[in-house]
């Protein structure tokens, strides 16, 4: 059985609060799929609807093409890893891991064998008889993953499982999760508010805001081709300059702004005569570039080695953020100076204002 997950126009209303509206996307079998958004955007609600902890008030959830309506969390081919991990504190580690097998009526000897096998997989061999309270945060994390994998789920749902770990451990666990997913071939649906986590780990990412789906795309496409202003601002840093779109031709859009006429790729909603905004990534802004010239006053330069982060203000007062390779740093004068930046049109996108 394939374990694709499809959401068809699902919506969720709690009392008078609209948590999720009209969300549709399909996650393919074996995909590492992330749902990215700020807290309160409805991403956890979506995960809980896939797991079966809550029924959507509208729309359908299909797993492997089968409608999941009316099936409880214990009847779906999913396993969930909670933000709090929710390990059972009164059971030793091996019983935690084998809990799903116990629920399936597997005998004790076989459960123990399977638990030991999974402990090896997560590099915690010999920890089976410890209690969860005796483990470190990272170890507990791994036990939670092993416990979910023990039931051989078709779909693994992860609710910000790394948020409680410190930065170094988090980065290590990212790589481990990604490797584990490739090895097991299980469909992963991963929830996070950390955009770098989503970009680094996922095959595809769904970006959500205020209960609405903004865009579903590969990390690269999200970054290069944001579909909405929200995505452009939420995923990565960006310089946003607003104006009136004066011409759209051959995939390019020209926008008249207070800082001059600028050209970028035409994105969603870019129509001649419409109000729009051009979004320029910090690494696209180059000092001294004559195309799409923008004057700015530099306020601060943070040297980071390979590149420098340049902060400043455009002539109209809007904030400037540029990341300049060290090799071009000579062209970006010291703080306080006026400098002209430019950017190649293909490195900026013009979106119509909603």
């Amino acid at each position: 059985m394939s374990h694709s997950v499809e959401l068809a126009q699902i919506g969720m209303t709690f009392g008078t609060t609209r948590a999720v509206s009209d969300v549709s996307f399909k996650v393919e079998q074996g995909e590492f799929f992330s749902i990215l958004g700020p807290s309160g955007c409805g991403k956890t609600t979506i995960l809980r609807m896939i797991a079966g902890f809550t029924e959507p008030t509208e729309g359908r959830v299909l797993i492997g093409g089968r409608d999941m309506k009316g099936l409880g969390p214990n009847q779906r081919p999913t396993a969930m890893i909670f933000q709090s991990l929710a390990l059972f504190p009164l059971m030793p580690v091996w019983e935690n891991i084998a809990f799903g097998l116990e629920a399936r009526g597997v005998g004790k000897a076989e459960r123990r064998r399977k638990a030991d096998e999974l402990l090896r997989l997560i590099a915690l061999e010999g920890y089976g008889d410890r209690m969860p309270g005796e483990l470190s945060g990272g170890q507990r994390q791994r036990v939670a993953i092993a416990r979910a994998l023990a039931v051989e789920p078709g779909v693994l749902l992860l609710d910000e499982p790394l948020s409680a770990l410190d930065l170094k451990l988090r980065q290590h666990m990212r790589a481990e999760l990604r490797a584990l997913q490739k090895r097991t071939g299980v469909t992963f649906i991963y929830i996070t508010h950390d955009q770098s986590e989503a970009l680094a780990m996922s095959d595809r990412v769904a970006v959500m805001s205020a209960g609405l789906l903004q865009q579903v795309a590969t990390p690269r496409e999200l970054y290069d081709n944001p579909a909405t202003a929200f995505v452009a601002r939420f995923v990565g840093e960006t310089n946003a300059i607003s104006g009136r779109i004066s011409d759209v031709q051959d995939g390019r859009a020209r926008i008249d702004t207070a800082l001059g006429i600028l050209t970028g790729r035409a994105g969603q909603g870019a129509r001649t005569g419409a109000q729009g905004t051009i979004y320029i990534r910090p690494e696209a802004l180059m000092p001294g570039d004559p195309v799409n010239a923008l004057d700015a006053r530099i306020e601060r330069v943070d040297f980071e080695g390979a590149f420098a982060l340049v902060h400043g203000r455009f002539a109209d007062g809007a904030a400037l953020a540029a990341s300049v390779p060290s090799t071009r740093l000579a062209e970006a004068p010291a703080p306080g100076a006026e400098t002209r930046f430019g950017f190649a049109p293909e490195h900026a996108v013009v979106l119509g204002d909603a």
Binding site: F53, M80, F82, S84, A86, F88, P89, F99, G100, R147
Partner: protein, 267 residues
Amino acid sequence: MSVADRIFRGLFVLYLAAFALYLFAPLIIMSAAAFNESRFPTVIPWQGTTTDWFGAMSADRAMWRSLWTSVLVAACVVIVVVPVGTAAALVLTSLHARARSFAYAVMVSPLLTPGVVIGISTLILWRQLGVGGGVFLIVLAQSTFIICYVMLMVTARLQRFDRTQEEAALGLGASRGMVFRRVTLPFLKPALLASGGLAVLQSIENYNTTLFVRGFETPLTVFIATKVRTGLTPAVNALALVIIVATVLGAIAYEVARRRQAARPRA
């Protein structure tokens, strides 16, 4: 140490001593009276040391019968109140805020009702249904308010329970029954044991509610109260001392077992 510290320390020790005295003096006097030859339970005047009252106690068939009645009632009360009180706590903690405060008020109200009222109203209600006083009604009447204690203790424990554990168990394929048996119940166990113990104590010491629904039964508290009128002997003190010693020994045994368990090295 400064003078102020010394004074403060002295006052603190004095306070502790007074507190302990207030707590234990009655027990000590009561216990001592069990060894007084006087026919009344008193330490003044001391008419000579004797252990005769323990003999009198063990020979008092009526007292043993009343103790047995109390123990039987307490056992039945525990069987009723622990499951029902736990169920009430589970319902209470899963309700939404507004419904919860209403249900809480309703469920706690027996605690605020005078015991006499509970006793009389239980008797009147069941008399209409043709059931007279006796062990059955004592158990029902006592349970009415003892359930509240169980509910409060289990609720307090449940508030520290991470409900996502139940969801995690469900998500791993467990049935509702297995979730309760393997996850919720083990977590509640300390509260269940404690509330069971409290229920026993509450039941055995209860007088005012029991008095009205006892029918022809004579539980220990009623027996002792009757004796106060007809002439109390230090045999009752002897019984009290035996109960105190048994309780203290029980508590010590429990603590020793608990420490042993905690010190046991893990495999």
